[in-house]
Amino acid sequence: MAIFRDYNVTPIDHDRAVEDRRRHRQLVEKSIKENLGDILSEESIIGQSVNKKIKIPIRGIKEYEFIFGKNKSGVGSGDGSEKVGQVIGKDKAKGDGKDGNKAGDDEGEDIYETEITLEDALNYLLDDLELPDMDKKKFSEILTENGVKRAGYQKHGINPRLAKKRTVAEKIKRQQAKKKALIEASQGIKIERLPFKNEDLRYHRVKQVLKRESNAVILCVMDVSGSMDTTKKYLARSFFFVLSQFIKSKYTNVEVGFIAHTTVAKEVNEIDFFHKVESGGTYISSGLNKALEIIDKRYNPEYWNVYTFYVSDGDNWKEDNEKAIEAAKKICKVSNLFGYAELLNSYYSSSTTMKNIFEKGVTDKNFISVDIVEKQDLWKGLKYMLKKDGER
């Protein structure tokens, strides 16, 4: 006779999916991050307020295998009224014209669409970025409210704040409790494997604290000359946009200056910097000299940590190259960091681009240059420039 066992009388841990679910979520989160790189280099977010919600479609983690395409025949059941030639449905692969997205409209594909604020998105990306090489300069420290400090634990939180030790401790607690319960119910003390459960997870609680912070200024210098086409300008702007959002979110006491240049440079306000279109020739030196001028006038390097970032397509007028190197060297002298991002340069041989010329001419250690060949590199570039001290 068949045996019946009721597993609800003595509840047993059946939630063995916890581990695999967590790993799956981790992979989904990773895919969010990868998507964000794309989203944040879209024009539409520039100049948006940080609290604006943006929609991000996230593709489910696909399990690829060899499968048949759409153009196959099949058999179905009907109600007997079917006639040869009757159309019974649309082939989704051909698209209903709504969006030209080539992937993503596959049958059975799981698309999660999450809405997150720009701030959250930035948090994902900028979690381990920091202004590096920040000197504690004399006379320049100010108490700010923007510091955070770990203060205890909580049950919910974001993954970067997972308190691993504490989580393990919680699991052990539960294990001991279970052992005890089993002994009391005199069922022996064998527990083979006790997986983590959601209720074990603990996260660091963070508290805002007063923090001594150094004075810092960021100078954003952008090439807006004619060779910077629309795509490049968008890229440059999103680079600076994220940079400035990052700075605002992390450092209260940081000033930001914006400089746009063609053959001449001028200091502009934030709105003009992100929205105004110009054209003309290119003297890179003009932009850099303007930065030097501003530093000289307002941000004495004795008191200020100075960060200068410059974005261009590297297409300088030849007669200006010498001057540009001179200016770059001077900037390195007065800055904690001089970062240069070169966008989508159209030269086939890279030896003539400004990046190469800078790299040969400017040997200072605080000069960092990155190549941005496609949208996604924007992130790598920014991350590379803004690594925490000593990690680069």
């Binding site: 006779m1 068949a2 045996i3 019946f4 066992r5 009721d6 597993y7 609800n8 059946h14 939630d15 063995r16 999916a17 581990e19 695999d20 679910r21 967590r22 790993r23 799956h24 979520r25 981790q26 992979l27 489910g60 983690i61 696909k62 399990e63 690829y64 295998e65 060899f66 499968i67 048949f68 395409g69 759409k70 153009n71 196959k72 025949s73 099949g74 058999v75 179905g76 059941s77 009907g78 109600d79 007997g80 079917e82 006639k83 040869v84 030639g85 009757q86 159309v87 019974i88 449905g89 649309k90 082939d91 692969a93 051909k94 992937a103 596959d106 799981d110």
Partner: protein
């Protein structure tokens, strides 16, 4: 279906006494089954079991977590109910009953389970392809092994995951014929030589004489190989622990292949018996009404698609009507879905079931055949060749280049084109395991297309 923590209108004793009656009828009918064990579990556990395909212990992999999330979302939004039951091909046969089900559903499920149990024990594919007595141990053993690699400091989670991801991508590219003995090395060479000799000596005078080329006896593989994982295990430059991971995936796939190959028959057989058993059971009126309703739900045709319960149920009824009881037992023992459909899906049945064939045309699906005397053969053939393992494209290893170990694969084109995005991504996984260039020949838009994966990059050659 009742959800949540509701008080049940029955207890374990009720189930046991109904089971006693069912078992009596089952034995009278002549079903031949493994000892049966039922476990009553809550819907949360059912979700988990569903994600791990019934195996309480399976190796860890995120894909099971994904499946859990999917199932629970679907359940939460009430898009579909959970399966009433889950049965495992093991000896003793284990079945899970969901606690939240009504008494009638439990009775129907119990009867249904005996049908599956008998099928597992007697169908040729299960007898030759699986070992029911060691099913549970096998999965447990594999899970322990995978965990031991994960816990090995020189290997770790990510390396294991990398291999499993790739192995999962090609797990269904496996031996298609169950119970066929692999002919190895010298014997196969001998055979190729004999074929060559016979062909060149004996030929029909009616056909043009084509001289066969002398067989290349150094070729690897000597004949095209369906089982890509096997080939990589045998010839790949990978470490021992990686090979054993591939072998684990291969063996677990082998366990599932008979279920893939007999979905229509297996569900049809179980539905046929639950229906006939419950008719005999002397159910009180209100349970009898619920039985008829539930049974009709189970075998509802489903417009535009194929419900295996429905098709299988109807075919077994028809065989019984035409050939008698002995015949249905014989059919359940020796057939698989493809042969089952080819032999027993008659023109009359096609018409009775309102089956039609559709084809893609200019971005729409258009009905290409209906069940009349000219159409039914096409319908039957299309259905038979697109069920079971026929839903998976057949990709074979044709040759491993002796010079640079390039792995050449071919897709055996049967009129159905590959999804190229998926093929490219899958090829990258094969490259991940193989470590040398991998190529795949297929047909797209009537022309040959070659996909080449070098250094994880794909190029297309037309």
């Amino acid at each position: 279906m009742e959800r949540g923590e509701t008080d049940l209108d029955y207890n374990l004793k009720d189930l046991e006494s109904w089971n006693e009656k069912i078992e009596g009828i089952v034995k009278e009918i002549g079903l031949n089954f493994y000892p049966q064990e039922f476990e009553i579990i809550g819907y949360k556990d059912m979700l988990a079991y569903e994600s791990y395909i019934g195996m309480p212990s399976r190796y860890p992999h995120w894909s099971f977590g994904k499946s859990y999330e999917k199932n629970s979302t679907v359940y939460k939004y009430n898009l579909s109910g959970l399966p009433y039951e889950m049965v495992i091909n093991s000896d003793p046969c284990i079945a899970y009953l969901m606690k939240e089900n009504t008494l009638l559903l439990q009775i129907l499920t119990i009867a249904h389970v005996y049908g599956h149990n008998d099928f597992f024990k007697n169908n040729r594919l299960f007898k030759d392809g699986t070992r029911a007595a060691s099913t549970v141990e096998m999965f447990k053993f594999h899970a322990d092994m995978v965990r031991s690699y994960i816990n090995d400091p020189s290997i770790g989670y990510e390396k294991v995951e990398r291999i499993l991801d790739a192995a999962h991508a090609i797990k269904l590219q496996t031996a298609r014929v169950i119970g066929e003995k692999r002919i190895q090395g010298e014997v196969l060479k001998q055979r190729l030589l004999e074929d060559y000799k016979n062909h060149n000596e004996v030929h029909s005078n009616l056909d043009a004489y084509v001289k066969l080329a002398f067989p290349d006896l150094n070729k690897i593989p000597l004949e095209p190989e369906d089982d890509i994982l096997y080939f990589i295990i045998k010839y790949g430059d990978i470490e021992e622990w990686e090979k054993s991971l591939l072998e684990i995936v291969r063996q677990e796939t082998a366990y599932f292949i008979p279920q893939i190959e007999t979905k229509i028959m297996n569900e049809g057989w179980a539905s046929f018996w639950h229906y006939n058993i419950l008719k005999e059971l002397g159910l009180p009126d209100e349970l009898y009404l619920e039985f008829i309703k539930r049974h009709n739900d189970v075998i509802a045709p489903g417009y535009g698609s194929i419900n295996p319960y429905f098709i299988g149920f109807k075919i077994f009824e028809d065989i019984l009507k035409r050939y008698g009881k002995e015949k249905i037992f014989e059919v359940r023992a020796i057939e698989r879905d493809e042969s089952f459909l080819r032999k027993y899906l008659t023109e009359e049945l096609c018409a009775e079931l309102n089956l039609f064939e559709y084809a893609a045309r200019d971005g729409s699906y258009v009905i290409s055949e209906v069940a009349d005397d000219s159409g039914f053969k096409n319908i039957r053939n299309t259905l038979a060749s697109s069920c079971g393992i026929g839903t998976v494209p057949l990709i074979r290893v044709v040759e491993m280049s002796p010079k640079d170990k390039t792995l050449n694969l071919e897709h055996l084109f049967d009129g159905r084109e590959l999804n190229i995005d998926y093929a490219e991504a899958t090829l990258k996984y094969i490259y991940e395991l193989w470590g040398h260039t991998v190529t795949l020949k297929t047909t797209q838009l009537g022309k040959e297309l070659k996909l080449v994966c070098e250094d994880k990059k794909i190029s297309l050659r037309r």
